[in-house]
């Protein structure tokens, strides 16, 4: 069943039961988001970027978890929404190694897109930068993980059918771990590539695609428990 909603004063017709974020994206209205992706069954709402103002709600809500209602009025660009998005984004960048030129995701990185959209710089100066001591994790036989590029959106954790990934540690030390995962054969991992495709930044790389000189030049450091 179709229902009518109003986004930034524009009337759009959307499917009932979908989230505000999905409804907007289908209709070509961009809302910054990182942890939500097309096939994600249960959005985490952990990136705190998809805030929108909704009629009847005293405070901005996360668009990925808010289900559309008939005649719902949505404002995606109010000042307080932008303020929330900018501070969440700046906090994410304070743990991100901004070195776009040497990153394989350059130009298709979601962070670059969001920075452009929110009109903020990628090199933030508001907060001190905190980077993890380990910059490359090559524990998994066919996936290389870059902890300092990762925004911990959890898309790879959600998308992997073999549960290769999981969050490890907590707080500032949180990373994505594969724990080597010897029980998943290389064949499985090379065929699917889902995690690499859903990663909004350049945190995951299939080993066969790796630029060998980048690895040799980089500060390779095995992660151990």
């Amino acid at each position: 069943m179709k229902i009518q909603i109003q986004v930034d004063g524009k009337h759009v017709e959307v499917q009932q039961g979908i989230s505000v974020l999905k409804a907007c994206l289908i209709n070509g209205i961009y809302i910054p988001h990182l942890c939500f992706f097309e096939s994600s069954p249960h959005p985490h709402a952990s990136c705190r970027l998809c805030f929108v103002d909704v009629d009847g709600e005293p405070l901005p809500v996360t668009a990925c978890t808010y289900i559309v209602k008939d005649r719902l009025g949505i404002q995606t660009n109010t000042e307080r929404v932008r303020q929330l998005q900018r501070s969440a984004f700046t906090l994410l960048l304070s743990m991100h190694e901004v070195n776009c030129k040497s990153c394989h995701a350059n130009k298709r990185c979601e962070l670059q897109k969001i920075a452009k959209f929110l009109n903020t710089a990628l090199k933030q100066k508001t907060y001190p930068t905190y980077l993890k001591p380990i910059s490359i994790d090559q524990n998994h036989p066919c996936i290389t993980y870059y902890p300092n590029r990762c925004v911990l959106c959890g898309r790879c954790v959600q998308s992997c059918q073999y549960s290769v990934f999981s969050f490890a540690q907590r707080g500032f030390e949180t990373t994505i771990t594969t724990f080597g995962n010897r029980d998943v054969t290389e064949q499985h991992c090379e065929n699917c590539r889902r995690c690499v495709e859903v990663c909004p930044v350049g945190a995951l790389l299939m080993n066969s695609h790796q630029h060998q000189n980048q690895i040799n030049g980089g500060n390779s450091n095995e992660m151990s428990i």
Binding site: Y162, R170, T177, T178, F179, N181, R182, D183, I225
Partner: protein, 175 residues
Amino acid sequence: MEFETTDQDLITLYTICDQFTDKIIERGQLIPILQQIQEKIGYIPKEAIVKVSEVLSISQAAVYGVATFYNQFRFVPPGKYPIKVCLGTACHVKGADIILENFERKLGIKEGETTQNREFSVERVACVGCCALAPVALVGEQVYGHMAPSKVEGIFTQIEVKKQIEHKQTPNSEN
């Protein structure tokens, strides 16, 4: 620093996990199983994560993720003489971080680590409940109050003496 899991520990691990084979174990049992392993072995060895993931039919990464989330699980074996330095409020005010640093420097390891010979491990703890004695350090169950950097050396001498006495009492232990 990597530690080889001893054969004794592996046997203990397999005995714990054998209780669960051929039974349907829910994922909610993950933490109790890990706690049981840590209680018996003293830490969570790498092999335990692989074994537990098999028992529960979940991925190794998931087990590792849960185990690293909680502070109660440790991944390096505790030393024979576990040194705990209190960093509670009172001890902190009295300069416990300097005491911790002294232990770390003396043993050449960082907080949370164990010396290669598995004799000593250093860790920080929150209040041990005797703030009047701040700053406080514990070696095993023994409490050392009013710690000062100069007392650190003395503690190691005491342990050395204790070791020699034990050695004399059991002279055949090396054979």
